[in-house]
Protein backbone atom coordinates (compact mmCIF):
# COMPACT_ATOMS: atom_id res chain seq x y z
CA UNK A 1 0.00 0.00 0.00
CA UNK A 2 2.95 2.30 0.63
CA UNK A 3 3.88 2.25 -3.02
CA UNK A 4 0.35 3.42 -3.76
CA UNK A 5 0.66 6.34 -1.36
CA UNK A 6 3.95 7.24 -3.03
CA UNK A 7 2.38 6.93 -6.43
CA UNK A 8 -0.51 9.18 -5.40
CA UNK A 9 2.01 11.73 -4.14
CA UNK A 10 3.82 11.58 -7.46
CA UNK A 11 0.57 11.98 -9.31
CA UNK A 12 -0.44 14.93 -7.21
CA UNK A 13 2.83 16.72 -7.06
CA UNK A 14 4.77 15.63 -10.06
CA UNK A 15 2.44 14.53 -12.74
CA UNK A 16 -0.44 16.52 -11.70
CA UNK A 17 -4.22 16.47 -11.36
CA UNK A 18 -7.75 15.05 -14.86
CA UNK A 19 -12.04 15.15 -16.29
CA UNK A 20 -14.24 12.58 -14.91
CA UNK A 21 -13.46 10.12 -17.55
CA UNK A 22 -13.48 6.39 -17.76
CA UNK A 23 -10.87 3.72 -17.55
CA UNK A 24 -10.04 1.92 -20.76
CA UNK A 25 -11.88 -1.04 -19.25
CA UNK A 26 -15.61 -1.53 -19.23
CA UNK A 27 -15.77 -3.13 -15.85
CA UNK A 28 -18.23 -2.79 -13.03
CA UNK A 29 -15.89 -1.37 -10.42
CA UNK A 30 -18.79 -0.80 -8.03
CA UNK A 31 -18.87 -4.47 -7.20
CA UNK A 32 -15.27 -4.28 -6.01
CA UNK A 33 -16.01 -1.12 -4.06
CA UNK A 34 -19.02 -2.76 -2.42
CA UNK A 35 -16.89 -5.67 -1.22
CA UNK A 36 -13.81 -3.70 -0.23
CA UNK A 37 -12.74 -2.71 3.24
CA UNK A 38 -10.74 0.22 1.88
CA UNK A 39 -11.18 2.11 -1.37
CA UNK A 40 -8.96 4.81 -2.81
CA UNK A 41 -10.18 6.77 -5.81
CA UNK A 42 -7.94 9.37 -7.39
CA UNK A 43 -9.28 11.25 -10.40
CA UNK A 44 -7.13 13.95 -11.86
CA UNK A 45 -8.73 15.69 -14.80
CA UNK A 46 -7.23 18.21 -17.19
CA UNK A 47 -8.31 21.08 -14.94
CA UNK A 48 -6.56 19.56 -12.02
CA UNK A 49 -3.49 18.82 -14.09
CA UNK A 50 -3.33 22.46 -15.08
CA UNK A 51 -3.64 23.45 -11.47
CA UNK A 52 -0.89 21.07 -10.39
CA UNK A 53 1.46 22.52 -12.98
CA UNK A 54 1.73 25.51 -10.70
CA UNK A 55 3.72 23.36 -8.33
CA UNK A 56 6.49 23.11 -10.86
CA UNK A 57 8.93 25.89 -11.39
CA UNK A 58 10.01 27.17 -14.79
CA UNK A 59 13.41 28.04 -13.40
CA UNK A 60 14.55 24.54 -12.48
CA UNK A 61 15.40 22.44 -15.57
CA UNK A 62 14.10 19.17 -14.13
CA UNK A 63 10.90 20.75 -12.95
CA UNK A 64 10.45 22.42 -16.32
CA UNK A 65 10.65 19.02 -17.99
CA UNK A 66 8.23 17.55 -15.47
CA UNK A 67 5.93 20.48 -16.22
CA UNK A 68 6.10 19.61 -19.94
CA UNK A 69 5.01 16.06 -19.17
CA UNK A 70 2.11 17.24 -17.05
CA UNK A 71 1.02 19.78 -19.67
CA UNK A 72 0.41 17.05 -22.23
CA UNK A 73 -1.47 14.63 -20.03
CA UNK A 74 -5.26 14.42 -20.25
CA UNK A 75 -5.94 12.50 -17.12
CA UNK A 76 -4.74 10.20 -14.39
CA UNK A 77 -7.00 7.73 -12.69
CA UNK A 78 -6.29 5.38 -9.81
CA UNK A 79 -8.66 2.95 -8.16
CA UNK A 80 -7.43 0.75 -5.38
CA UNK A 81 -9.44 -1.75 -3.40
CA UNK A 82 -8.42 -3.66 -0.30
CA UNK A 83 -10.43 -6.64 0.75
CA UNK A 84 -10.79 -8.46 4.05
CA UNK A 85 -11.06 -11.79 2.28
CA UNK A 86 -9.69 -13.36 -0.84
CA UNK A 87 -11.70 -14.27 -3.88
CA UNK A 88 -13.53 -10.98 -4.30
CA UNK A 89 -12.17 -10.61 -7.79
CA UNK A 90 -11.61 -13.65 -9.94
CA UNK A 91 -9.10 -14.60 -12.59
CA UNK A 92 -11.96 -14.10 -15.05
CA UNK A 93 -12.26 -10.45 -13.94
CA UNK A 94 -8.57 -9.89 -14.61
CA UNK A 95 -8.75 -11.74 -17.89
CA UNK A 96 -11.71 -9.60 -18.94
CA UNK A 97 -9.73 -6.42 -18.21
CA UNK A 98 -6.68 -7.71 -20.02
CA UNK A 99 -8.76 -8.77 -23.01
CA UNK A 100 -10.06 -5.22 -23.40
CA UNK A 101 -6.56 -3.87 -23.81
CA UNK A 102 -6.24 -5.24 -27.30
CA UNK A 103 -3.44 -4.91 -29.79
CA UNK A 104 -2.58 -3.23 -32.04
CA UNK A 105 -3.61 -0.20 -29.96
CA UNK A 106 -2.52 -1.64 -26.61
CA UNK A 107 0.66 -3.61 -25.98
CA UNK A 108 1.69 -5.32 -22.82
CA UNK A 109 5.18 -4.35 -21.74
CA UNK A 110 5.24 -6.03 -18.33
CA UNK A 111 3.54 -9.13 -17.09
CA UNK A 112 4.51 -10.53 -13.70
CA UNK A 113 2.93 -13.42 -11.89
CA UNK A 114 4.26 -14.41 -8.50
CA UNK A 115 2.98 -17.75 -7.32
CA UNK A 116 4.65 -17.22 -3.96
CA UNK A 117 2.77 -14.00 -3.20
CA UNK A 118 -0.19 -14.63 -5.43
CA UNK A 119 0.54 -11.30 -7.05
CA UNK A 120 -0.15 -10.42 -10.65
CA UNK A 121 0.99 -7.20 -12.30
CA UNK A 122 0.46 -6.08 -15.86
CA UNK A 123 1.57 -2.88 -17.51
CA UNK A 124 0.17 -1.94 -20.90
CA UNK A 125 0.97 0.98 -23.14
CA UNK A 126 -1.19 2.45 -25.84
CA UNK A 127 0.50 3.53 -29.04
CA UNK A 128 -1.00 5.85 -31.59
CA UNK A 129 0.96 6.90 -34.64
CA UNK A 130 4.12 5.43 -33.16
CA UNK A 131 3.77 7.48 -29.98
CA UNK A 132 2.90 6.30 -26.54
CA UNK A 133 -0.46 7.86 -25.67
CA UNK A 134 -1.55 5.96 -22.62
CA UNK A 135 -0.49 3.63 -19.87
CA UNK A 136 -2.55 1.15 -17.91
CA UNK A 137 -1.57 -0.88 -14.88
CA UNK A 138 -3.40 -3.81 -13.34
CA UNK A 139 -1.91 -4.85 -10.02
CA UNK A 140 -3.63 -7.65 -8.22
CA UNK A 141 -2.84 -9.30 -4.92
CA UNK A 142 -5.08 -11.81 -3.16
CA UNK A 143 -6.65 -9.08 -1.03
CA UNK A 144 -5.90 -6.02 -3.10
CA UNK A 145 -6.67 -4.80 -6.58
CA UNK A 146 -5.26 -1.62 -8.06
CA UNK A 147 -5.97 -0.11 -11.45
CA UNK A 148 -4.08 2.85 -12.84
CA UNK A 149 -4.70 4.64 -16.11
CA UNK A 150 -2.70 7.55 -17.43
CA UNK A 151 -4.28 9.15 -20.48
CA UNK A 152 -1.98 11.22 -22.66
CA UNK A 153 1.41 11.16 -24.29
CA UNK A 154 4.08 9.66 -22.09
CA UNK A 155 7.74 9.66 -22.94
CA UNK A 156 9.54 7.12 -20.78
CA UNK A 157 12.80 9.00 -21.24
CA UNK A 158 11.25 12.26 -20.13
CA UNK A 159 9.31 10.75 -17.27
CA UNK A 160 12.59 9.70 -15.71
CA UNK A 161 13.14 13.35 -14.75
CA UNK A 162 10.58 12.80 -12.00
CA UNK A 163 13.13 10.57 -10.31
CA UNK A 164 14.90 12.36 -7.50
CA UNK A 165 11.98 14.74 -7.10
CA UNK A 166 8.83 14.70 -5.02
CA UNK A 167 10.16 11.85 -2.92
CA UNK A 168 10.52 9.60 -5.97
CA UNK A 169 13.75 7.62 -6.10
CA UNK A 170 15.76 7.90 -9.27
CA UNK A 171 14.69 5.24 -11.74
CA UNK A 172 16.74 3.97 -14.63
CA UNK A 173 14.41 3.82 -17.62
CA UNK A 174 17.01 3.15 -20.27
CA UNK A 175 15.96 1.69 -23.60
CA UNK A 176 17.50 -1.67 -22.72
CA UNK A 177 15.15 -2.18 -19.82
CA UNK A 178 12.09 -1.31 -21.83
CA UNK A 179 13.18 -3.70 -24.55
CA UNK A 180 13.82 -6.40 -21.96
CA UNK A 181 10.34 -6.06 -20.59
CA UNK A 182 8.99 -6.43 -24.12
CA UNK A 183 10.73 -9.77 -24.28
CA UNK A 184 9.30 -10.73 -20.91
CA UNK A 185 12.49 -11.85 -19.21
CA UNK A 186 12.92 -12.95 -15.62
CA UNK A 187 9.74 -13.51 -13.70
CA UNK A 188 7.70 -11.85 -16.36
CA UNK A 189 5.35 -13.92 -18.40
Amino acid sequence: MKWLVRMVCVLLLGVGFASAQEFPWKVNLDKFAAESSETVDVTLDSNMLNLAKNFLSDKDADQRQARDIVSQLKGIYVRSYEFDKTGVYTEADLESMRAQLKSPEWNRIVGVKSKRDGETDYVYIRQTGGKMTGLAVIAAEPRELTLVYIDGPIDLQKISVLGGQFGVPRIDTGHAKVEDSHKGKGEAE
Binding site: V42, Q165, V168
Partner: protein, 168 residues
Protein backbone atom coordinates in the same frame (compact mmCIF):
# COMPACT_ATOMS: atom_id res chain seq x y z
CA UNK B 1 -18.69 67.98 3.51
CA UNK B 2 -19.24 66.94 -0.06
CA UNK B 3 -15.66 65.68 -0.31
CA UNK B 4 -16.02 63.75 2.97
CA UNK B 5 -19.22 62.17 1.72
CA UNK B 6 -17.53 61.23 -1.52
CA UNK B 7 -14.58 59.69 0.31
CA UNK B 8 -16.92 57.79 2.59
CA UNK B 9 -18.88 56.46 -0.39
CA UNK B 10 -15.67 55.44 -2.08
CA UNK B 11 -14.53 53.57 1.01
CA UNK B 12 -17.94 51.89 1.29
CA UNK B 13 -17.84 50.81 -2.34
CA UNK B 14 -14.30 49.46 -1.92
CA UNK B 15 -15.20 47.56 1.22
CA UNK B 16 -18.26 46.14 -0.51
CA UNK B 17 -16.26 45.20 -3.58
CA UNK B 18 -13.66 43.44 -1.49
CA UNK B 19 -16.10 41.77 0.88
CA UNK B 20 -18.54 40.51 -1.74
CA UNK B 21 -16.28 38.04 -3.52
CA UNK B 22 -14.98 36.78 -0.19
CA UNK B 23 -18.49 36.14 1.03
CA UNK B 24 -19.73 34.78 -2.28
CA UNK B 25 -16.79 32.44 -2.56
CA UNK B 26 -16.89 31.17 0.99
CA UNK B 27 -17.63 27.56 0.28
CA UNK B 28 -16.07 26.58 3.56
CA UNK B 29 -19.00 28.02 5.48
CA UNK B 30 -21.45 26.34 3.10
CA UNK B 31 -19.76 23.00 3.65
CA UNK B 32 -19.76 23.49 7.42
CA UNK B 33 -23.43 24.57 7.40
CA UNK B 34 -24.36 21.52 5.35
CA UNK B 35 -22.68 19.20 7.82
CA UNK B 36 -24.21 21.09 10.74
CA UNK B 37 -27.65 20.46 9.29
CA UNK B 38 -26.87 16.80 8.84
CA UNK B 39 -25.40 16.18 12.30
CA UNK B 40 -27.64 18.60 14.15
CA UNK B 41 -24.92 20.58 15.89
CA UNK B 42 -22.48 23.41 15.32
CA UNK B 43 -18.72 22.85 15.08
CA UNK B 44 -16.62 22.94 18.22
CA UNK B 45 -15.12 26.29 19.08
CA UNK B 46 -11.33 26.18 19.23
CA UNK B 47 -10.09 29.16 21.22
CA UNK B 48 -7.15 31.15 19.83
CA UNK B 49 -6.82 28.88 16.83
CA UNK B 50 -6.12 31.83 14.54
CA UNK B 51 -3.49 33.12 16.93
CA UNK B 52 -1.82 29.73 17.25
CA UNK B 53 -1.73 29.25 13.48
CA UNK B 54 -0.23 32.69 13.05
CA UNK B 55 2.89 31.53 14.87
CA UNK B 56 3.29 28.40 12.77
CA UNK B 57 4.72 27.99 9.26
CA UNK B 58 1.15 27.36 8.13
CA UNK B 59 0.14 31.00 8.59
CA UNK B 60 0.48 31.63 4.86
CA UNK B 61 -1.96 28.85 4.13
CA UNK B 62 -5.03 30.68 5.52
CA UNK B 63 -6.29 27.59 7.24
CA UNK B 64 -9.92 27.29 8.22
CA UNK B 65 -10.90 24.44 10.46
CA UNK B 66 -14.20 23.15 11.75
CA UNK B 67 -14.52 20.09 13.94
CA UNK B 68 -17.71 18.38 14.94
CA UNK B 69 -17.32 16.08 17.91
CA UNK B 70 -19.64 13.59 19.58
CA UNK B 71 -21.52 13.24 16.37
CA UNK B 72 -24.17 10.57 16.44
CA UNK B 73 -24.90 10.60 12.73
CA UNK B 74 -22.60 8.63 10.48
CA UNK B 75 -21.61 9.23 6.90
CA UNK B 76 -20.86 6.91 4.06
CA UNK B 77 -18.63 8.24 1.32
CA UNK B 78 -21.64 8.60 -0.99
CA UNK B 79 -23.58 10.52 1.68
CA UNK B 80 -20.66 12.82 2.35
CA UNK B 81 -20.23 13.49 -1.33
CA UNK B 82 -23.90 14.15 -1.93
CA UNK B 83 -24.00 16.45 1.11
CA UNK B 84 -21.30 18.57 -0.48
CA UNK B 85 -23.00 18.45 -3.87
CA UNK B 86 -25.05 21.62 -3.46
CA UNK B 87 -22.79 23.26 -0.92
CA UNK B 88 -19.67 23.72 -2.99
CA UNK B 89 -19.39 25.68 -6.20
CA UNK B 90 -18.61 23.74 -9.40
CA UNK B 91 -15.00 24.92 -9.40
CA UNK B 92 -14.23 22.41 -6.68
CA UNK B 93 -12.93 19.10 -7.97
CA UNK B 94 -13.09 16.05 -5.71
CA UNK B 95 -9.87 14.42 -6.80
CA UNK B 96 -9.21 12.03 -3.94
CA UNK B 97 -11.82 9.87 -2.25
CA UNK B 98 -10.94 7.36 0.41
CA UNK B 99 -13.45 5.03 2.00
CA UNK B 100 -12.35 2.78 4.82
CA UNK B 101 -15.12 0.54 6.03
CA UNK B 102 -12.65 -1.16 8.27
CA UNK B 103 -12.03 2.06 10.22
CA UNK B 104 -15.44 3.60 9.53
CA UNK B 105 -13.72 6.60 8.02
CA UNK B 106 -14.14 8.40 4.74
CA UNK B 107 -12.30 11.36 3.28
CA UNK B 108 -12.82 13.57 0.26
CA UNK B 109 -10.21 16.06 -0.89
CA UNK B 110 -11.42 18.87 -3.10
CA UNK B 111 -9.20 21.31 -4.95
CA UNK B 112 -9.76 24.49 -6.90
CA UNK B 113 -7.72 27.30 -8.29
CA UNK B 114 -7.44 30.41 -6.22
CA UNK B 115 -5.72 32.87 -8.50
CA UNK B 116 -2.41 31.25 -9.28
CA UNK B 117 -2.57 29.32 -6.03
CA UNK B 118 -4.36 26.17 -5.11
CA UNK B 119 -7.08 25.90 -2.49
CA UNK B 120 -7.76 22.55 -0.88
CA UNK B 121 -10.67 21.39 1.21
CA UNK B 122 -10.37 18.16 3.11
CA UNK B 123 -13.51 16.67 4.64
CA UNK B 124 -13.12 13.66 6.88
CA UNK B 125 -15.90 11.78 8.60
CA UNK B 126 -15.17 9.09 11.09
CA UNK B 127 -17.04 7.50 13.94
CA UNK B 128 -18.32 10.35 16.14
CA UNK B 129 -16.33 13.08 14.42
CA UNK B 130 -16.39 15.17 11.27
CA UNK B 131 -13.62 17.59 10.29
CA UNK B 132 -13.54 20.19 7.56
CA UNK B 133 -10.24 21.88 6.71
CA UNK B 134 -9.69 24.46 4.03
CA UNK B 135 -6.26 25.77 3.20
CA UNK B 136 -4.62 27.79 0.49
CA UNK B 137 -1.40 26.55 -0.95
CA UNK B 138 0.38 29.68 -2.11
CA UNK B 139 3.32 29.57 -4.50
CA UNK B 140 5.76 30.19 -1.70
CA UNK B 141 4.44 27.27 0.32
CA UNK B 142 4.35 25.05 -2.78
CA UNK B 143 8.00 25.91 -3.29
CA UNK B 144 8.93 24.94 0.24
CA UNK B 145 7.01 21.67 -0.12
CA UNK B 146 8.86 20.95 -3.32
CA UNK B 147 12.22 21.76 -1.77
CA UNK B 148 11.45 19.56 1.19
CA UNK B 149 10.44 16.55 -0.90
CA UNK B 150 13.42 17.09 -3.16
CA UNK B 151 15.63 16.96 -0.10
CA UNK B 152 13.88 13.82 1.07
CA UNK B 153 14.34 12.20 -2.32
CA UNK B 154 18.07 12.88 -2.15
CA UNK B 155 18.18 11.35 1.32
CA UNK B 156 16.26 8.37 0.06
CA UNK B 157 18.85 7.77 -2.64
CA UNK B 158 21.58 7.82 -0.05
CA UNK B 159 19.74 5.38 2.16
CA UNK B 160 19.36 7.88 4.96
CA UNK B 161 15.64 7.48 5.33
CA UNK B 162 13.80 5.02 7.45
CA UNK B 163 13.02 1.53 6.29
CA UNK B 164 9.73 2.16 4.56
CA UNK B 165 11.02 5.14 2.70
CA UNK B 166 8.20 7.41 3.80
CA UNK B 167 10.57 9.64 5.62
CA UNK B 168 10.14 11.36 8.89
Amino acid sequence: MKRQLLSLSLVAVLVFAIAMPVYAGDDFNSAVDRISERVGKRPMHIPFLGLVLFFTPARGAHIKLATFEDVHASFTLAELESSMGGALSPEWHPFVKVDSRRDHECTIIYARASGSDMRLMVITAERGEVTVVQLDVPKKLQGSWMDDTKHRAKNSRHGEMDGDGDGA
